[in-house]
Symmetry: C2
Subunit: 751 residues, 2 copies
């Protein structure tokens, strides 16, 4: 929804009128954001952070507590992909660009830290323990124990605002551009005036995969009070040789006091110092841009203006209330509401906006400055999110989902390829498969069609068919010739990748059918089930094949769990992948020998603890019992069991990495009692809802009905006996997206 | 002379008319630059370089051959203050900002290097041996043996131009912003288009004394042909820890191909690649500024415009001809003319312009952007140059000298203090003493008075009298109380510093007298001879005193030669300093017991090999025999002997470090037969000239006579018998500046 980013009262654009009209339907939702607990997922490797952020904001201001041996989990002593973990207790500042729920470290830079006394530039010395943390949607607060400073943060979409309450005396605010979540370095700082800093910081190279894909993030920082003194520090590398002996500062940190010129280098920072005669509040506001310093300044000026910390937080909280208020629930405990709305909050962090206030953004790959009239979104972790998150966006925020698809198509135009794992206009090429087309088809088939479907179809076919120089589908030649990738094609995930390509081809087929492209429909439909050749009847499981068509041997289907690398499967094993053919379950049932063997085999995944709630490949498994008439209770039991086991109102309340909202989306659906079980098929399957009543406010620009109400009737501990859809009895445990949104009402009767 | 920097035909300013008028008097001087051999001083620690440069240009394009163990003298294995030494044979590029004749490393950055084949970013791999070097005023050429590329360079005042003649095939031009003469690092590069780069490089921290005094040099580089491919490389530091293991590029160099965004870091560079179908010439032009990238671009556009390499070189050569043509000589050998004009060339490198084409420059210390209508000069190594170079400038280029004084006064206004060793708007505080005022007084007393003398006088008195927080005269309190610094005041140079302060006070006294400030004249005159208290009659030498007034003991007057550190003297010993009281020689003679003991003691300096031709304190010694009537022949013999011993038309043709032209100025004077023996006294003493006739074209804006002719008559191997000044017999071996320039003719009769 465009409105997310322009409802700030100080923003002006042509969307405002239509937004205000629509906002009216949200009703009395103002208080919903109180159910957001941003600490959920900050432990147990959930990789979320409690930073203050606006819906889909470019900026978040998060405590950064992963540096230093004072901490249990130090970013340098282990693999950490988040600026904050609840286990730690020593923070070294507040980072202004952060990722939530990702598996590799990136961003986590522009780290500001208030201190007292003399300026100290070593984070391990100026860092502090902290207490009295408070985190809400759009707000974070803590007390620094070493200095007695109270820190509060909030944010607009492109500006992070910090309010420091300093005790009387000498105080400083440091902006450390050396420290960051990753080992990536390089920055420029220029002090513009005693109240303003501008600069650049290098970020990127997600997972350290593509060293050449780093890029600058630009910023302009402003204080609301002029510094008494300021300066820039620079850490010097240690040099050997004769000259090194002359350098008194060899390997040390130098300071440039009241210096107005650019300082550039790998590890630099700046301090602004004050001498307060009494307890004093100081506001630091940092505007961000991925285009230029000028745009960062414009973002700051247009979004912050003369607003105070209070008014910004009030507005951002209002935004959260509105966007979270798209769903209203009744019934359920306070904790259940909290995990539900926090999950919804987590799906509203990424994808986030990339474009500046003026519409400019860096084009994919070239980073050429381009302009958009809608929102250009970024942080597309499609291997995760194609499975459920985008279907949720299509239902709840179709304008946003449309802009996401438009962003994907723009990326295709800019770089020649659809994105796979796009991050701030770079392609990280993380994970396998070709998932963008699945999202596009799924969106279109759910009726969100205000984008250029022909270009989209062309883009999808390109990655499906171009054999040489295809960055999205390595091993495509084998896939097309043999139907699958072999252990020679790739040493990691030959079966998984085949399945992913199958699902992508299924998506193209579904879209082709919709677009009445019969030949293509037929061709891609055939391609979409080639995984069948990897089905080993002896094991009733999928199994890698060698180049000569023989089975990979020796083969242990258990190998590959817990991220152990194996030949056939990536981030999983055969158990966790065999059923990941949700577009072909009836045939899988047949191959397995019928409904009983299928159910038995699927149940074995859970009974033998092969199911992994923390990763995506098997994420739809608990719903697959619904494909066997009479076994639906297994789905209901399993979904409830998983949800109550893994999702809690506590820092370890996510099963693992949130994967930019995918785990959260799973939770939201299961708590509502519907699940989009098969990507690119606009259907939901059913499980027992948590809430008595769920009201979804549908966007009238995309849906005929204004509301969709999902109700639970009867014995809340019972099993679903039958459904009513728009008041009519519905026999199947599957409902199409169209049926659901057209009728506007689904009631589940439990007994 | 303003004209130096604006006679370029493509330049426009209001000075042009007056300049053109004046240029007329230079007559037939076009060919004089052929006598410049820029290789003189490139060996024997002369610290000059053969780079192409315009008169007093901000930019020079010098071969950079001091990196890599392939070289005899590697910058990392020894103290090297020059980008080029003749001893070496392996060059790694061409640096665009360089210092000539200084004792500490600085600048020597923006190093461009043409290569062939695949892009290699390690200087030790892409470097090359070279041959067929040619260096002229404003031109340098060599042949790179590894690649077969011919490199030619030339320059306007603010733009360095390189012409590469590439063989057919794949070629590259690298601009390495990591490599530099010093260990200072930090840069930003942004490729603007396939023909343009902009960026910043950190320089400064001369001698590594003041780590906080580094600053950016900005540049815009343009190629005359678009690159087929370009990229930026960045060297990554080596990280330890878990994440370091994931970094395939840990401690390695990464490349960003066809990348248009800023890259920042300690060690980065850029390459522009071509594929030439035949032998092709490529021109690289780099505009420089110390203010901003925008100014660097404007400098490039205004000074280069559409000019070709040929036309720029032709114009720069014309400029050199004009400025060198200020003196015409006849008689003397070709080698003598060459060492003479090369020395003059060396006095025309520093001080150099700091202001951009538009008049902007960074203010002293704050680096705030300021504007000047004249030229703002920089690189003031006053401890060296106050002794002779500025007097020469007053004679030959009074407008330049006036602008230099104005620059000094602007520095005073900007920073509160006159400069001591100023370098690109930073105060390096190198060496001892308070020399700026000596230069100002000397200039004023020579009749160059078009600057604000009251401000100048105020500035001089401030450093002479302000006891606390005085950066120019440490130890001033002792000096004022006791008349001298003691071994407790400073552990290095208590006597030397006392003498320097004496000379500065003498300068103030002389100026006060001229300005009719009687009290001040009397007071400073007294202060100017307080060195006498350090005269040890037993030794007939100066000697350090302790805090209690006792002589420093044990004391060996020989200690301190060859830069051995000692208590009383800096860069010298008692022999080399005792006579450095040229403003008080008659009294020194008295203290030594009369003319004979004085002569004997002075002669001993030479006989005992205590005289150091390579350093400044004793630079006037050979002329001091003239103070003893009847001993003038000793001066003539000694000057000839020193000149012929130490000055040659070869790379080792300077006695040592040129000290930004001070050694060269000594040579110029001695070859003309006059020497400004006592700073701030507008007098010359006489020695045997080399040339039969020297014609100096005086600037009519400052001098009544248009020409000054110094002639030698009689036996050229004989001694000076008598002089004629303006046709009148002149008995003394001393002539005032006024007498010399008013009469316009000095004839020396030798017998």
């Amino acid at each position: 929804m465009q409105s997310l980013f322009c409802q700030y009262h100080y923003l002006r654009n042509r969307f405002i009128l239509s937004i205000l009209t629509f906002v009216g339907v949200l009703g009395n939702a103002q208080e919903i954001s109180r159910y957001v607990n941003p600490f959920i997922g900050t432990s147990n490797f959930g990789a979320t952070n409690p930073g203050a952020v606006a819906p889909r904001g470019m900026v978040s201001v998060s405590p950064f507590n992963v540096s230093g041996k004072q901490n249990t989990m130090d970013k340098d002593s282990q693999w950490l992909s988040t600026p904050y973990v609840k286990e730690n207790h020593f923070l070294t500042g507040f980072s202004h660009v952060n990722l939530s729920g990702v598996g590799c470290p990136d961003l986590g830079v522009l780290i500001a830290m208030p201190t007292t006394g003399v300026v100290e530039t070593d984070p391990l010395k100026y860092g502090s323990t902290y207490s009295a943390e408070v985190a809400r949607a759009g707000y974070y607060k803590t007390h620094l124990e070493t200095s007695g400073i109270m820190v509060e943060t909030t944010a607009t979409p492109r500006v992070g605002i910090s309010r420091y309450t300093f005790p009387k005396g000498k105080s400083n605010v440091l902006l450390n551009l050396g420290l960051g979540l990753t080992n990536e370095q390089g920055a420029m700082i220029k002090v513009v005036s005693p109240t303003e800093i501008e600069g650049v910081r290098t970020v990127g190279s997600f997972c350290y995969y593509k060293p050449e894909e780093t890029y600058p993030v630009y910023f302009v920082a402003r204080f609301d009070k002029p510094a008494r003194e300021f300066g820039i520090w620079k850490h010097t590398q240690k040099y050997k040789g004769v000259e090194g002996q002359w350098m008194g500062y060899n390997g040390k940190t130098r300071t440039y006091r009241n210096y107005y010129k650019e300082v550039v280098g790998d590890s630099i920072g700046t301090y602004f110092s004050y001498d307060f005669k009494e307890t004093t509040q100081l506001q630091l506001s940092i505007g961000i841009s991925y285009v230029s310093i000028e745009n960062a300044r414009e973002n700051l000026e247009k979004e912050l203006g003369k607003n105070t910390f209070e008014s910004v937080y009030s507005e951002t909280r209002k935004q959260w209330d509105k966007v979270l208020g798209r769903i209203e629930v009744s019934g359920g405990t306070e904790d259940e509401k909290t995990i539900f709305y926090t999950a919804l909050y987590h799906t509203l962090l990424h994808p986030n906006i990339l474009n500046d206030y003026n519409g400019e953004y860096p084009a994919m790959a070239t980073r050429e400055t381009k302009h958009t009239t809608g929102n250009r979104f970024t942080v597309f972790s499609f291997w995760d999110t194609y499975r459920n998150l985008h279907a949720l966006m299509s239902l709840l925020y179709p304008k946003q989902q449309s802009d996401m698809v438009k962003s994907m198509l723009a990326i295709y135009k800019e770089s020649g390829w659809l994105p796979k794992w796009e991050l701030n206009a770079t392609e990280t090429t993380t994970m396998v498969g070709d998932p963008a087309g699945i999202v596009i088809a799924d969106t279109y088939l759910r009726g969100i069609d205000d984008f250029d479907i022909e270009v989209a179809y062309e883009a999808m076919c390109k990655s499906a068919d171009q054999i040489t120089d295809n960055p999205l589908r390595p091993g495509l030649e084998d896939y097309l010739q043999k139907g699958y990738l072999t252990t020679s094609t790739t040493s990691s995930g030959s079966v998984s990748t085949t399945q992913e390509y199958n699902i992508s081809d299924f998506a193209i087929a579904q879209l082709a059918q919709k677009l009445r492209k019969k030949e293509a429909y037929s061709r891609y439909t055939k391609r979409a089930v080639s995984y069948r050749k990897l089905f080993d009847k002896k094991l009733n499981l999928l199994r890698p094949k060698n180049d000569d068509g023989s089975w990979y041997h020796p083969f242990n289907p258990d190998t590959g769990a817990n991220f152990v690398k194996n030949f056939g499967f990536i981030e999983g094993n055969s158990w966790q992948y065999t059923f990941m053919v949700t577009h072909d379950i009836p045939h899988l049932i047949k191959m397995m020998g019928g409904k009983e063997p299928f159910t038995k085999q699927l149940k074995k995944v859970f009974d033998n603890k092969q199911f992994d709630m923390a990763n995506e490949p098997d994420i739809a498994y608990p719903f697959l019992f619904n494909y066997v008439k009479g076994k639906e209770r297994l789905t209901q039991d399993m979904v409830d069991q998983l949800r109550t086991t893994y999702f809690k109102n506590s820092p370890d309340g996510l099963p693992g990495n949130d994967d930019t909202g995918t785990m959260s989306a799973w939770l939201i659906y299961t708590m509502m009692g519907i699940y989009p079980v098969s990507p690119a098929e606009p259907i939901y399957t059913i499980s027992r809802p948590v809430f008595d009543r769920v009201t979804i406010h549908l966007d009238p620009a995309y849906y005929e009905e204004n509301t969709l109400i999902i109700k639970k009737e009867g014995n809340p501990k019972g099993y679903i006996k039958h459904l009513e859809l728009g008041g009519k009895k519905h026999e199947r445990f599957f409902i199409t997206h169209d049926e659901l949104t057209r009728t506007g009402s689904l009631t589940m009767y439990l007994k």
